[in-house]
């Protein structure tokens, strides 16, 4: 029996059960993920314990792989276009639903958010059928379209929460003080909404970058990185290189998420001031 911590006591949990549960939960979530970086430094092509020795050769191998680098570039391109487009669409949508009341508003919002709840495999098949019917050649273009569709609900959700408490009288005050609508946007609206835009773009980018199913269905000649990684899993000698790449992506993703959340937080604190 562990000694109950002070925090556990305060929360009315005399056995500290909640703390143990939380710890177990975190381990369950993150230990498998931690295998990725651990084995990426293991000097063996077999992903098994015991570990053999430390090496960075898998990283060297991964980053010398031209196909992989092309896939990485493709993913970065798709991610950049999808996140910017989804954020613009999300901003327009969020502005509409937070600023105006219109008939059928909940239905429209529901439809925009729907891709979050449709199984991705269904979305993928549906889009593939549509693209084929329209004779649109498969390629990065079709993948990008799919990703925009998938990212827009995320962007919309982030930006709606950002704009929801936006005091309309701030913009009116600016115009009242002599600024045109255009200057008002740059001097008031944009600085206040910018943190939301940044966190929306980061989040959309990660959604796009990690996305597999849609990319798999809609790909042409050039795969995105997750699709490329999946295709390499057939070759055992490539696996450690994939682990190395995976470890890099994992760390970059984590950093981006933390930045996105951090930016959103600063922004939220600031916004509260305006509303209080």
């Amino acid at each position: 029996m562990t000694k109950p911590t002070r925090a556990a006591k305060r929360m009315g949990d005399p056995g500290g059960f909640l703390a143990i549960f939380a710890l177990a939960y975190l381990l369950f979530l993150y230990v498998p993920v931690l295998f990725l970086p651990v084995f990426s430094f293991n000097d063996s092509i077999f992903v098994t314990f015991p570990l053999k020795g430390f090496t960075t050769k898998w990283y060297e191998q991964a980053f010398a792989d031209q196909d992989m680098l092309r896939a990485l570039t493709a993913s970065l391109q798709v991610g950049a276009i999808a996140s910017v487009t989804a954020t613009i669409l999300g901003l327009l949508g969020a502005k509409a639903v937070t600023r105006y009341r219109m008939p059928g508003q909940n239905v429209v919002t529901g439809l925009i958010m729907m891709p979050l709840f449709i199984p991705e495999i269904m979305l993928g098949i549906a889009l593939l059928i549509l693209v084929n019917t329209l004779f649109i050649p498969l390629g990065l273009f079709t993948i990008t379209i799919g990703h925009i569709m998938l990212c827009t609900p995320f962007a919309m959700a982030v930006l709606t929460s950002r704009l929801d408490g936006f005091d309309k009288s701030l913009e009116e005050a600016s115009m009242d003080l002599g600024e045109s609508p255009w200057m008002t946007f740059w001097r008031v609206t944009f600085p206040l909404v910018a943190p939301g835009i940044i966190s929306s773009m980061l989040l959309s980018f990660i959604v796009s970058f990690d996305e597999f199913l849609l990319s798999f269905f809609l790909q042409g000649q050039q795969p995105t990185l997750p699709v490329y990684i999946w295709s390499q899993l057939r070759f055992p000698n490539k696996l450690p290189g994939v682990l190395a790449l995976g470890a890099v992506i994992l760390i970059v993703s984590c950093i981006l998420v933390v930045i996105a959340e951090w930016v959103r937080q600063i922004g939220t604190d600031e916004r509260k001031v305006g509303v209080a």
């Binding site: 005091d167 701030l170 009242d176 002599g178 206040l192």
Partner: protein, 362 residues
Amino acid sequence: MADNIIRIENVTKQFAGGVKAVDSANFNIERGEFFSLLGPSGCGKTTLLRMIAGFEFPTDGEIYIDGQASALIPSYKRPTNMVFQSYAIFPHLNVFDNIAYGLRKDRLSRRELKRRVDEALAMIHLEGFGARRGDQLSGGQRQRVALARALIKRPKVLLLDEPLGALDKKLREEMQIELRELQKNVGITFVFVTHDQEEALSMSDRIAVMGKGVVLQIAPPKELYEAPNSVEVATFIGNINLIDATVRSVAGNEVTLDGPGFGQFRAPAIDGLKTGQKLTAAIRPEKLSLTASRPGANYVEGTIKASAYLGDRSHHHVHVKGRPTPVAVAAQNMDRSMTIGIDPSKPVYVTWDPRSLILLKS
């Protein structure tokens, strides 16, 4: 002829769905005046103010600001500035930048800008607060910053949308006095929107009372209270007893009426009265007094139904036979013993000076 800074001519604002928020408003605001728009929420006072500011545009009519037809001019081209109900302090700017916000186009030198902002900070007694952020200010300080930010533009008219509503009672009363002083010092016309009648009465040169989109009466505070022109105005400003009365006879400047519970009573005549005409007679609670012994004339007999002791005064509800609603009497507690006991078994007499009665045609 009066020097009118604002002329509102036949201004109507109809929203989608056909609701008329403001219905053919017609009035003038004089230069240098403290003018209040008073009415319950939803009466159109804020819509009217926002039309003067340029945030809403009238569906019909014209608004002249300093002689210029302005109904369709956007807010950023008008010589008016506004203090918002929420203050609308820019959260991403500090106090200095908030106050200097409207001066960008004037292209002042750094030094001149600083001088102007410091001057504004001094005016609102917030010297040295320039570097503070909005969230480091109290409600009253934010309100002052909003005021300084608007006044630094030297507007021809300052518009205030319930600026004291968010402040606690004591601070609100201080700010009322301060605002009034400030208005006298800067000499700028203030148009002040409020639903608080005491606030309007204590601060304004003139008040426009609005109800359901219509301007009901425009008058100085005293006239509004003592000589309301309609039942709506009489009941909105302060408390009043209404008597559905019928004219019995008119003799010179005195009229005799008949009303339920009151029997025959006298009142000062108004123009155009005919025998048999029905109208409303009204009298304020503080113009009635209670006595235990029967007066000679101008009284009704009743019993006290309820009393509330409020320190400086007491409110009594007196039930009068034949009258559906009790008569409200506000008595000053002029000595420390309450001379009229709360004995429901004993009759009391409500008495008045006939000159205190107001006649209102429906």
